[in-house]
Amino acid sequence: MTSTTMITDSTPHQVPKSSLRWVVNDLFTIARRNLLTLVRIPISLVFAVIQPVMFVLLFRYVFGGAIPVPNGQYVNYLIPGILVQTTIFGAVGTAIGLAEDLQRGLIERFRALPMARMAVLGGRTIADLLRNVLVLVVITVVGVAVGFRPGGGIGPYIGASLLMLFFAFALSWGFAFVGLTAPNSETAQAMTFPIIFPMTFASSIFVPVSTMPSWLQPFARNQPVSQAADAVRGLMLGEPTGHAVWLTLLWGLGALVILAPLATTRYRRAA
C-alpha cells in the first residue's frame, strides 16, 4: 500500500432527496454505464454502427439490382427497412449484456445497493434507445449518400423515427427477459437467433412480401416487424401506410405491457 490514509471517514454522505430524483439518477447512472461499455468494446460498436452500414452497401450495390420494388428506387425501399433491422439486431446486445452481468455477479452487487430496483433494466433499455438514435442518424446520412431520397417530408420522417424508436424500446424489454433467462451470455446469444432470424428476414424489411412463396406470405405480411417496416417506410417515403402505423403502435404497446413486467419479475427472481 502506498499510504496509510484513512480508508473510512466519518462524514455523513448520503443526502436525502426525493425518491423520484434518485430513480432518475439511478436510471441515468446505469444508462451511462451501458453506453460507456458500448464505446469501450470495439466489437459492440461495430455491431451497432458498422454492420448496418455494410448491410446498406451490400443491398444497395450487390443484391439491390436484382430486387424489383413496386414504386421506383430500391434504395428508397431499403433504407427504412435497414433502420428497423438494425434496431432489432441491436437488441440482441441487451440480452447478451444482461446475461453477462448476471454471470459475472454485477447484478448481485446492484441488488445489495440502495438503488431503484427497476433502474438496472430501465437504464439498459434507455441506453438501447440512445444507441438507436445514433444508428438512425448514421444510417440516414449514409443512406442519403448512396441515393436515399425520402419524399415524405421532415415531419413524417421524424414521426417515423419516433415510431421506430418506440417499437425498438418495447422489443428491448423482450430481449432483456431473454438475457435474464439464459444461463450465460453465449446461450443468450444463441437463444436470440431463432427469434430475430425469421422476424427480420421473413419480413418486408429487404424485399416486398408479394415476392415470397404463398405459404410464407401470411406470416411475413402480418408479423410485427413487417408492420413496423411498412409503417416507417410509408411515412418516410410519403406513401400510404394503411393500418401499419396503428398496428405498429399497438404491437409496441402490447409488447411493452407484457414484456416489461415479465422482464422485471424475472429480474427480481434472477439469482
Binding site: 500500500m1 480508508i7 443526502v15 432527496k17 460507456l36 459475472r104 438503488m115
Partner: protein
Amino acid sequence: MSDFAVEARNIVRTFKKGAVRALDDVSLRVPRGQVFGLLGPNGSGKTTMVRILSTILAPSTGSALVNGFDVVREPDAVRRSIGLAGQYATVDENLTGFENLRMIGRLNHLSRSVVRNRANELLETFDLAEASARNVKTYSGGMRRRLDLAAALVANPPLLFLDEPTTGLDPQSRQDLWAIIEQLVETGTTVLLTTQYLEEADRLASQLVVLDHGRIIAEGTSRELKTRLGNTVLVLTFETVGDARRGADLVGDLGAQPAIVEGLVVEFTVDGGPTKAAEALRRLDGAGVALAGLVLREPSLDDVFLNLTGHRTGGVEVSLTETA
C-alpha cells in the same frame, strides 16, 4: 442501538423446492468493531448466509437484523448500511477503475462531488491511482480485488461483507488485502468475512463460526478452536499398512485427538510438536517399526473438519480410530 452489527436467528434457506438445505437453522451474532469469520469448505452455506444478510436473497424461515434493520422488512435501510465485496470481483471490466467507483457511489446516492473525492481517495489508498483511468480488463487479479473492495467502501458503510476476499490470489496480494482489512477494523468498521482458509481466519478474525452442510459445527475464538484441535499436526508415513496400524497403536496416545489412519499414513494433532515427534520416534524405533517419513505441520481447515466432523472438506468419509 444493539451491540451487534448482525443478529441472525434460526436462518433456514432451502433451494429446489426444499430438496437442498443450504442453511439449516443458523444463528449468529457479530459484535461491532471486529472481524467475524465464517469458515467452511465450498458448499457449506457461507455465501448463502452473506447473500441473505446483504438482502440479495430472502431466508426461507428465520430472521436477521443487520445494523438494527430487518433484512426482509427494511432491505433499503440495510443496503444503505453495508458494503459487499465478493470472490467474483464484481466490477465492470469495460469501465475504468474510477468509473466503477463513480458508478457504485452514485448508485449509493452520494453527491457527485463526494463521489469524486471518495473515489480518488480510495484509488490512492489501494494503490490504484495510476491505473484509475485504465479499463479494468487490463487489471491483475489482485488489482481487481482491491477495486472490488474499494467499491464496497465508497459509501463508507459501518459493516462490510467480504465473501472469500482472497480466494485465487497470489500470496503477496493476499497479504496486501489482509493489511487493508486490518486497517479497516482499526478505524471502527465491522467485517464479516467468509473464508476457506484457516490461516486467514486465524490472522484476521476475533471470532469464528465453522459451517458444514449448512449447519454450525463449531464456534469460538480462533485460539479456542485450535486448542480443541492441538497446535501441530504430526504426520507419520509407514512402509506397510500393517506397520501403520501397529504404529498408530504405539503412538496414538500422544495426540490431543484420536489418530486418523488412512492407508500408510497416520495423522494426529499434538501439543508441543517436536517433543511429541521425538517421543514417537523413540517408541517406534524401540518396537522395531520402520518409518518412511515424518512431517510436522500447522493444522489446516481440513484438519479442523476432520476432527469436528470425521470427514474431509471434500466430503470423503474416513475412519477415526480410537487408540488406547
